[in-house]
Amino acid sequence: MKPVDFDYVKPTTLAAAVDLLAQGNGSVKAVAGAQSLGPMLNLRLVQPELLVDVTAIPELLGTREEAERIVIGAGVTHARLEDGDTSERTQAVLAQIASGIAYRAVRNRGTIGGSLAHADPAADWLVCTTALGAELLLVGTAGQRTVSAAEFVVGGFETMLAPDELIVEVRVPRLSAGSRWGYYKLCRKRGEFADASAAVLVDDARGFYRCVIGATSGRPIVLDDSRPLSELAGAAAVAEALSPTALAGDAFAIQVHAAAVRRAVRAATA
């Protein structure tokens, strides 16, 4: 279980990084914490010619507070978010999410941008940034664009990132003081990827309501925002939501996803 022979560079500017990505014709991979890429390299599921380490690019490393949002550099580790300033409502929610990711050793190295770019359907940030209504700033050789977390993920392990693009920022709208957040994931053991997950945000002051199902076989599923939460949490609604996925007809999957939604709703409305 050793990787193929590859080259490694650690650029210090964003421009240099995307240039390197653009040259590689797909055989270049960006790497930050390597918590998913590392095992994939060793299993030779990925056989790149070049790894571009993005952890020395200043734009990816900071977190800043703006009036309407918290902006997180894509290279910020889960551990830094876990250890963030929890007196602020949004950061407290982010810290809570981060603290439940895998184990501390993984959180010390794994990054929010890496997790989103990898797009494992069971990943915490995938479902949570979608539920929080976050936006991602993507930068490539042709310039930059902003996409919502919900549209960023196209399918299981599939995103709209072009080969020469990097996620640079994750922009999370500030939650109102009275907002309510609920997140539940079912893991067979602590630290494992989830078998089912759901996140719920109820933000009356901003008029923002969202319920998202994660750990499906594909992209996170945003349940119809117009329905009342109690209705969304019903097994029938979840079964309907899962019907276009590979989990359709899987009694266990429908049951545990429904339970996850119910518990996330309960946490958000308690």
Partner: protein, 780 residues
């Protein structure tokens, strides 16, 4: 204070816990090259050809290279009548029989380069239908894994007679189909080896992570055609074995031959993926059991058919039939009942060979039998522990020969159960169940009692006719000129703390301080022959040999002391490392100095063997010691999502005299943790094509420290009447009961909903399926 029974810290932990041990992976030899194995991507196929690029041809080897050089297949026959012999070429010959089977080996300066070459080796296959499920493979007409066989049964065994007439009127008849899953063994350290030719010693030296260096040497000798004295096998520090390191590995044969062929040291380190998909498989059983009981729940008879998925080949030395055949003899467990019949089938399939995993067969039969006991209890409307108590062999019948001729040596089985019932506070659990949980979870309590044959020797093993029969266990003991003690034993300590416990035994006899006692083990060049560490035998057998050797040394010391002290032999006593007669005394160190440095002072009739001896030992009865325990657990089941939390776990155990209670407890903690894995997490499934589905630790779930609760242990200590100090083997015990206990506890929790789970591991999916079925079919 430091002898038998003392809770002393382990001597070896200073180096092991500081990361200063020396494992195979720490060994680097000059000019050493690395191996990678090319493994079959298909489960069952004829090999048509290999396509090997010319530029790497000299770095790739197949059976076409090994066979002409005289390498022989691994062959582990059993002498039991009807056993069908499989031959396993260490690199597949004309046919592959499981996905992951080694078909070629590559050599390069680094493992990564060896893997690069391996990825260029392409085999062309003519695929054959695979045998994936053992019941289908055992059915008539299934394609044969070994084509010259008539079917896929390594061995069928029968125990007992049909007894239907005798139980025709039995008021209780319980039938169950029970399945236990294929598991991987997953010690912290995987397999690994370094092979080289020692030019000075003119020996093949194999450093390998093994539990049985002497048996690996025997196997290598058979496969390579080298005389035994030309082979030295060394097990350095070994990071857990659990059975995975208790066999001759095909990779060992290949690496040993190749290092002779190439003339350079070679290394192979098993990676986790190889471990999970290519070899370290265990525990896959299927049971069809019918039990009969009277209206009180007293067992009248047990009738069982058991199948063990033994995989494609018979492993050396334990063979492919030991597991199933043992099922036939140990299924009755600790119970006394009048009628028993069991048929067992060792089924050959297109999966990796089954390896005897810690608690071999015992964990499975306990899982099956303890479910039956609970089912009988439910049928007669009693608490399950009451039905257990009714059927356990009572202490007044000890020693007891059970229905399959097992000789239970000593103990009070019912008392372990009574203490477990009290210790888990059954009454309060029942009250709690009536009140219900604030969070809506369902609480349940479960029990399981077992007895465990360990350290079984010649009397048991000569009947199996496998390549190894344990006889007298030998230990060499040598007092050094400065009064220290060196012990040499052919067993191998890979987590059991024998460097400490054997020193305690020697200290008990000779009084030499623990820090002056060294154990050399795991090296065929330095130690007496031994079948190695397996079957909970090392403390009983090699520990007994340590005591025997030290007693004989004590006798020689006394004789020399009598001369030097000018005392009568019968007046000389040895205590605390000091030999005394009246007011006169002399230390062991002074006697040692005399023997080595001032022999002119020795008596004329001194034993010329001196202060060095090799002693052999067998217990008075080597039918095995019988440790036993009752485990009890309280669980909370989340019926919405199927998660199980273990709220309390209690072990009441009796392994005879404890040499070191801390080591005993460590063995139990580790065993229970593994048993929790069996119960709730671990499973290595195969798809219809015979492809392993769990190839990484993301798919193969192991319990971590957050899944293992604080385990409470209560000790009982009934000495064995047959062994030194009354010790019994206990290394495997902890792992035997947890899957049964937790399954019973979960079923107790689900009882209110009418649901029952019967298969391992008890996953959320299985719990929710059982609940759905219960809703679909409400209890009558």
């Amino acid at each position: 204070m430091f002898g038998v029974g003392a809770r002393v810290r382990r001597k070896e932990d200073d180096r092991l816990l500081r990361g200063r041990g020396r494992f195979v992976a720490d060994i680097a030899l000059v000019g050493m090259r690395e191996l990678a194995f090319v493994r079959s991507p298909v489960a069952h196929a004829r090999i048509l050809s290999f396509d090997i690029p010319e530029q790497v041809r000299r770095q790739v080897f197949t059976w076409q290279d090994l066979e002409p050089a005289g390498v022989r297949p691994i062959r582990a026959a059993s002498g039991l009548p009807g056993f069908k012999v499989s031959e396993q070429p260490p690199l597949a010959a004309d046919k592959v029989r499981f996905a992951g089977e080694p078909i070629a080996v590559t050599v390069a300066a680094t493992r990564a380069e060896a893997e690069d070459i391996a990825s260029q080796v392409i085999a062309e296959f003519d695929e054959l239908p695979p045998n994936v499920d053992m019941l289908a493979a055992a059915a008539p007409g299934a394609p044969c894994v070994h084509e010259h066989w008539s079917d896929n049964i390594f061995l069928e065994t029968r125990v007992g007679q049909s007894f239907e007439k005798d139980v025709a009127a039995a008021p209780v008849r319980i039938s169950r189909s029970i399945r236990t899953q294929r598991q991987c063994i997953v010690p912290l350290e995987g397999k690994g080896l370094v092979a080289h030719w020692d030019r000075q010693a003119e020996q093949l030296v194999l450093y390998t992570a093994t539990q049985m260096p002497h048996i690996v040497r025997s196997g290598l000798s058979e496969c390579l055609g080298l005389p035994l004295e030309a082979i030295r096998v060394i097990a350095p520090d070994v990071g857990g074995g659990f059975g995975w390191k208790g066999l001759l590995q095909p990779e060992e044969v290949v690496a040993a031959w190749l290092c002779l062929h190439l003339g350079c040291p070679l290394r192979w380190m098993e990676d986790r993926r190889e471990h999970l998909v290519a070899a370290a498989n265990a525990r896959e059983h299927h049971y069809e059991i019918t039990a009969y009981a009277d209206a009180d729940g007293r067992l009248l008879g047990v009738d069982a058919d058991a199948w063990v998925d033994a995989g494609a080949y018979s492993i050396y030395p334990f063979s492919a039939c030991l597991e199933a055949a043992q099922v036939g003899s140990i299924l009755p467990g600790p119970y006394d009942f009048p009628h028993y019949r069991c048929r067992t089938f060792s089924v050959c399939t297109n999966k990796p060979p089954i390896v005897p995993f810690r608690g071999v067969a015992r964990a499975n039969v306990c899982f099956a039998m303890e479910q039956i006991i609970d089912a009988i209890a439910a049928a007669v409307g009693r608490e399950a522990w009451e039905v257990r108590l009714l059927n356990l062999v009572p202490p007044e019948k000890m020693p007891f020969d059970n229905i399959t001729g097992k000789h239970f040596d000593s103990g009070d089985y019912p008392e372990s159960l009574r203490r477990a019932v009290a210790g888990i506070d059954l009454a309060s659990v029942r009250r709690r169940q009536l009140q219900g949980e604030p969070d809506g979870r369902l609480v349940g309590v479960g029990f399981a009692t077992y007895c465990e044959q360990g350290a079984h020797g010649t009397a048991v093993y000569h009947g199996w006719g496998i390549p190894m029969v344990p006889g007298y266990e030998q230990v060499q003991a040598r007092i050094t000129a400065d009064g220290g003690l060196e012990l040499r034993a052919g067993i191998q300590s890979h987590g059991q703390g024998m460097e400490t416990s054997f020193a305690q035994v020697a200290h008990e006899v000779l009084g030499i301080p623990l820090e002056r006692i060294r154990l050399v083990h795991g090296d065929t060049g330095l130690t007496p022959y031994s079948t190695g560490t397996w079957g909970s035998r090392s403390m009983v057998m090699a520990g007994g040999a340590v005591a025997t050797a030290c007693r004989r040394l004590a006798d020689r010391l006394r004789r020399i002391a009598a001369h030097l002290l000018q005392a009568r032999l019968e007046d000389v006593t040895l205590s605390g490392g000091m030999l005394q007669s009246g007011q006169a005394d002399i230390t062991i160190a002074e006697i040692a100095r005399t023997w080595y440095l001032a022999p002119q002072l020795l008596p004329a009739d001194v034993d010329p063997g001196g202060l060095e001896i090799t002693a052999g030992y067998k217990p008075k009865s080597d039918h095995g010691t019988f440790s036993y325990a009752t485990h009890a657990a309280v669980v909370a089941v989340d019926a919405e999502v199927g998660l199980v939390e273990i709220l309390d776990y209690l072990v009441v155990e009796d392994a005879g005299t404890m040499v070191n209670p801390a080591i005993v407890e460590g063995q139990i903690f580790g065993g229970v943790a593994q048993g929790i894995g069996t119960a709730l997490y671990e499973c290595s499934p195969y798809d219809d094509a015979g492809q392993p589905m769990a190839s990484t630790l993301m798919d193969y779930l192991l319990p971590g420290f957050t899944e293992v609760p604080a385990i409470r242990i209560e000790h009982m200590e009934t000495p064995s009447p047959y062994t030194e100090f009354g010790v019994k083997g206990l290394g495997e015990g902890g792992v035997i009961a947890p899957s049964a206990v937790l399954c019973n506890a979960i079923n107790d929790a689900l009882k209110a909903r009418g649901a029952v789970v019967t298969d391992q591991p008890v996953t959320p999916a299985r719990i929710l399926a059982a609940l759905r079925n219960a809703r679909a079919e409400p209890p009558p």
